[in-house]
Symmetry: C2
Subunit: 398 residues, 2 copies
């Protein structure tokens, strides 16, 4: 017997949102989007309303809501209620008709909506990094209360989730996250001063957004994943390990106390982890076949923490938790934006993050509001750091 | 709470037997050997009686039993009852104090004892290939009746068993057995005529007995594993696939319908699958750690069925089942022995097996006795084949 799952898609106009809607189109009798939170791309939000007729859609701003209202009125579309802002996203995530929330709003904007969805007892497919990096302790504690799993929509953590089925949590000795190594895997450290924005945006394996591409180049993204794994699987940072695997075929591994290691492999297509989260504990035919006979060669080597200080900083944040993790994420977001605008150099990203982390006093915010305040402070510190920096001559980047 | 498992070790003087006793020595509060079946190495059987004081030991022959009796009497050891032959092995396997039977007698000698153990409702750790290749249909049907899993003690099937925990059987699309490829992976087919016994005994990865080493060189061993996997996991031959992986680090993989593949990696030490079988569904600390940071490089490529006809023949036997599988195994055992004695050439092994399989009419023996009769007939045909062959000049092998 098939049961239809009614979805809230937080971040419907982003990449995960698109993939989730592709899945809804492929399995119309299994997954129906009933509410959506879009961002500021009103044209895409409009198309999604026309196609999917959600009961509620939330957009980022009041102006966006007005614009969307006007467009829909012209198209004689009256089925969708339009809301906006943080309260709108909460409304979408906690809607009584929703069973399953795909949390894929980028940045801290998704925090409150996801937290409220967890508190409302919804099942969650989690693609929003900040939910675990900045508010992982809060959100996972709440999820444990309701006994609902937070299902990771992220190729690495999804792989870990699959491998963990091979044993009990108290039998796990290590989780091994694989890292493609990014575009600078083979670049000598001495050349890191001259790294350009264009070089950093050229990721070898995944086509992704600009921030996550830079975070992959600094290995900060892998660092975030270390923190996410700690929170998601309730393991200390020392049990989360990283190994560089340029082909990104093995998405992650779990090592058990008997010496067995389970690894998950698949094509690099986000629909796979989304579908896994949506159907867990079942699996369904996806058509996303990986050809084992094409495996050929897989390489592995230890990561270079000296060349990639962001990974070391993330380990520190993972151990400390609370405000240090929040500062790591906030400072990195500001730093990456400044790097993309050529205000600071590639190596400045780690320098800025380290300084802001050191400047942030250790605390463990107990509410989402407190998390957001801590995030705000770290961003302020980061902006000041950049302002000070840009008074100095910026190293010439081609 | 620890519960002690009381073991019958069928094949105590062999390699799996030794590893199982090592585990008993390492975990004396968890695993106690209460009965044993040894073969014809009476000196080792004597030492094992002195050390482990089993309640019953069985040896191959009446003469062996007399010799062992005499040695033990001289050593004032009276705790162990001595039995012999097929009936003795059955006694050992079905002893009322036994919870768990490690089935590791080499060859068809282990068939009846294992079958009776299954019928007596014992849990089974299965390392005897013939139990599944020759009598898989019978033994697995009986095991299903008792609802007890047959736990494979064999790195590949044990790996598959672990990976299968990631989903349901109806979600499995393929099982991928990895093959080291043996010593002739890179030898051109044109040079196969000149392969010597010494070359064939030189296996790159595993140190094993002589027959299994030759079976690895012809890929017949992988073919047996295809049949074993079909019976053990109740899957058609078309769903069991082989991929060559020279490092033998990934022991096997399972592909699910959503496109996810789970793989198991570990050190190549038989204590690991034995311990897994003994402790399933738990895992315990083994000290057999695989260093992920040493992974370096893994290679994969499709097997060459043209160069290794034994693998093709095994697929045919897997599909036909019954007498064809029995013939495959029996003919191969005789052929390998003849090759080791330089009576036939390396390429003759596959020729002999193919001819005997073709000569064997298709049937599905419904008793172990009928299986043994079929096995006997195939061995007779094989000996005749060799006799005919040795009248012709044997190709000169150094």
């Amino acid at each position: 017997m098939l049961t239809v799952k009614h979805l809230a898609i937080l971040g419907s106009t982003g990449s995960i949102g698109h993939s989730t809607l592709d899945i809804c189109a492929q399995y119309p009798d299994r997954f129906v989007p009933v509410t959506m939170a879009a961002g500021s791309n009103i044209d895409v939000a409009f198309e999604q309303c026309k196609k999917w007729k959600p009961k509620v859609i939330s957009v980022a701003t009041e102006e966006g809501a007005a614009k969307l209202y006007e467009k829909l009125a012209k198209a004689h579309h009256r089925e969708t209620e339009i809301v906006h802002g943080a309260a709108g996203a909460v409304r979408v995530a906690t809607h009584p008709d929703v069973d399953f929330v795909v949390s894929a709003i980028v940045g801290v904007a998704g925090l409150e909506a996801t937290y409220e969805a967890v508190k409302a007892g919804k099942s969650i497919g989690l693609a929003n990094k900040e939910c675990l990096v900045a508010a992982g302790e809060l959100i996972t504690a709440e999820a444990r209360k309701y006994g609902k799993p937070l299902l990771p929509i992220d190729s690495e953590h999804n792989a870990v989730h699959q491998c963990l089925r091979g044993g009990r949590m108290d039998e796990v000795t290590s989780v091994w996250l694989t890292a493609s190594g990014g575009p600078f895997l083979h670049t000598p450290k001495s050349e890191f001063d001259a790294i350009t924005v264009e070089q950093a945006l050229n990721h070898p394996t995944w086509k992704m957004g600009r921030r996550i591409t830079i975070d992959s180049a600094t290995l900060m993204n892998k660092g975030f994943e270390v923190i996410e794994a700690c929170r998601l699987f309730n393991l200390p940072a020392a049990q989360i390990k990283v190994i560089v695997h340029p082909q990104s075929t093995i998405h992650s591994m779990v090592e058990f106390n008997d010496g067995s290691i389970l690894a998950q492999l698949s094509v690099t297509d986000m629909r796979l982890p989304i579908l896994y989260a949506l159907t867990y504990p079942d699996r369904i035919e996806s058509g996303l076949k990986f050809n084992v006979l094409d495996l050929k060669r897989l390489d592995f080597h230890p990561p270079d923490l000296d060349k990639f200080p962001c990974l070391r900083l993330a380990y520190e944040a993972a151990e400390s938790g609370g405000s240090k993790s929040i500062a790591l994420n906030a400072a990195d977001e500001v730093a990456v934006a400044a790097f993309l605008e050529k205000q600071i150099s590639f190596k400045d990203i780690a320098r800025l993050v380290e300084d802001v982390m050191n400047e942030t006093s250790q605390s463990h915010p107990a509410t989402i509001r407190a998390v957001l305040a801590c995030d705000h402070d770290a961003r302020e510190m980061s902006r000041k750091w950049i302002a000070k920096q840009t008074m100095k001559p910026v190293p010439s980047v081609k």
